[in-house]
Symmetry: C2
Subunit: 387 residues, 2 copies
């Protein structure tokens, strides 16, 4: 077991109707709120009006149109400008992980004198930030319970995971009913994203009975409940279980004390969605079984056996490589069963930039130090196998 | 799934050698430290000298001799007096859960003008407290990661679980090597305590795939690793896994969104150790299988089946009551196998005060509203079956 230093100060307020506590919570942080959101789905479900009504005694500024794979320019830069010009007290992010990730970069950027990209690219470190509260409307990223954010910069094809303790939301409101209207496509992609967060921690050298059981339960919860959500989008219990399972995804709680893995799937997928702006969870799902096949070896097989037996219930009395291959096939089959297009061409990616993306990943993501180390050629091979 | 409001702000610094960070951490909170500890085991293992050396630039006051089942008088009262007289900035609790529980009551008591018992008995609520840091030397209570403390008042046979958000330690140092010298008796009792923390959350009406898997893994981790610790007290990995599994015990993370259970085993055991000052974990272990037998019914059996199949690997293809009874026997057998004396007489408790204790529990613990409701007669029957 490895040494670790862990803290997640975020308060989780979870369940149907909890948003009623919003005025009391926001009141702790001040009067001037920057409300951030995306393309307007929060208006369709009535949440925008609800929030405005609840916060009628506050002074509200707005930043809308934050895109999936949120952009440094214009979203982060616009948000920083609004905060600086208006002395914003607190940011309220309402939406999915992209809205929240963008808000995290705004929160630290607004308290920094230089170019906010310095912080995202670790040229400088935040010393202060604006408090963040969020209302999450999509079960997926876990951004509501972690200190990370992913920001894309279109002109350089950068998509950077930016981690800083100032990024923790102080309060996250999680009402599963706000995910009832999430489309089948986004429900499946969110499930795939959250499954990958767990897999990125599960496939490692050194784990524990506790962490393995926790993560295997997380994977089973996501698969069982995603199917229920697709069958009946208003299944409260299924939406609620998915939401909490996703929330734990990226703050480390699933794997405290485990050895590092390098998060190879995210390292590779960030190039795909930076170059092609595809849905992150779909990109992850597509490359996952191809990565598994590629790294399966005498050295890694036991971990895949454990995964196959404990997550998919594959009979343990078989050759270990047989079990591993069945586990990889079951992973692929699950993603197909929830409707994810399982090859890159189906999401608009062809052969043309594969070598360029593989080079970008090899240079920037350090996957030569991953649990199963990947060279530039390995990465290109995995991308090609995913075509 | 139930609504919940959850937050655990504590920073966990975990692993071999982490105590070296103590000066940096304590420096955040001030110069005047109240060092609290128990009967001197921290001196035997060299930790007392180590702490004094690391904190040579601080002004240190001491409260020693804090007993297991820590006492309001003298320990809490003495600690409050030292803090008030010397304007203590921060409390450093070094030892097991009892030392930390006592320190929590001191931390709030020192910032309260009235009798600190008002806070413990909820006649008043804390509005401020002295920051608490701890170095834990026993894997058991989980006090290092929760907002609860248990305080005993000898003259009234009260043993009260006192919960308040001010009780969260700000930083918990967890170095498994400091548990190498824990005796076989205390290792087994700590394991039983932590298993019970999980069982008190597991046996409920409404749980999730995620929580069930997490808790089942926790129970398995404790049983496997306790045996390893008994065989080789310096097995670092086993001590480390036990320590982290225990740490999650009481802050709610094992069962967020689950229905309430009433924590019947703790409700009953607190009377046993209040009246007889026995080792808490042993008291819990003794009554656990008797409670299970007593509450086993058509209404509760499915939960015991799940427990038996998933924790003990009992063959699922049997009559459900057969599985449940095997699970209860397996629980009893495990406690025997780690050397816990499995009846009350063996720890010095006879028939004489059973009705009095049962009455005390029935009046004070609300177990008529537990998952499997218990009347005063039920409680007395469980105590008698445990003799």
């Amino acid at each position: 077991m490895q040494n670790f230093d862990y803290q997640t100060p975020t308060r989780l307020i979870f369940g149907k109707g909890v948003v009623e506590k919003l005025p009391e919570v926001m009141g702790q942080f001040g009067k001037k709120i920057l409300l951030t959101y995306g393309g307007g789905s929060i208006k369709k479900i009535g949440l925008y009006d609800k929030v405005k009504e609840l916060l009628k005694d506050f002074e509200i500024y707005e930043l809308s149109d934050i895109q999936p794979n949120p952009k440094y320019d214009p979203s982060v830069l616009d948000g920083v400008k609004i905060c600086k010009e208006n002395n914003i007290d607190v940011i309220l992010a309402v939406g999915g992980g992209s809205v929240l990730d963008c808000s995290k970069a705004i929160a630290t950027g607004a308290k920094y004198d230089g170019d906010p990209w310095d912080l995202i690219s670790y040229k400088a470190f935040a010393t202060d930030s604006i408090p963040i509260v969020d209302i999450i409307t999509l079960a997926a990223t876990g951004s509501e319970y972690d200190s990370g954010g992913v920001i894309s910069r279109t002109e350089t094809n950068d998509k950077i995971g930016y981690i800083d303790p100032h990024n923790f939301p102080l309060v996250s409101f999680l009402d599963p009913t706000y995910t009832f209207t999430v489309s089948k496509k986004q429900t499946a992609a969110g499930c795939a994203d959250a499954m990958n967060h767990i897999m990125e921690q599960y496939f490692c050298e050194d784990s524990t009975i506790l962490n393995d059981g926790f993560m295997e339960a997380g994977l089973k919860s996501l698969m069982v409940n995603a199917k229920k959500c697709l069958e009946n989008p208003e299944d409260y219990t299924a939406r609620a279980e998915m939401m909490l399972t996703c929330t734990y995804g990226c703050n480390g709680i699933y794997s405290l004390g485990n050895s590092q893995t390098g998060w190879p799937l995210h390292g590779m997928e960030h190039a795909l969605s930076a170059y092609y702006d595809i849905t992150h969870g779909e990109g992850l799902a597509i490359i996952t079984p191809r990565w598994m096949e590629h790294v399966l070896s005498e050295k890694t097989v036991d971990r895949f056996v454990k995964y196959g037996v404990n997550v998919f219930g594959i009979d343990a009395n078989q050759d270990k490589f047989e079990i591993a291959k069945k586990a990889i096939q079951a992973t692929y089959d699950f993603f197909v069963s929830v409707g994810i297009p399982m090859n890159l061409k189906a999401v608009g990616i062809d052969e043309s930039r594969i070598d360029e993306m593989a080079h970008h990943v090899a240079v920037n993501e350090g996957l030569d130090k991953a649990w199963a180390p990947l060279t530039e050629k390995d990465i290109a091979d995995i991308f090609r196998a995913s075509l």
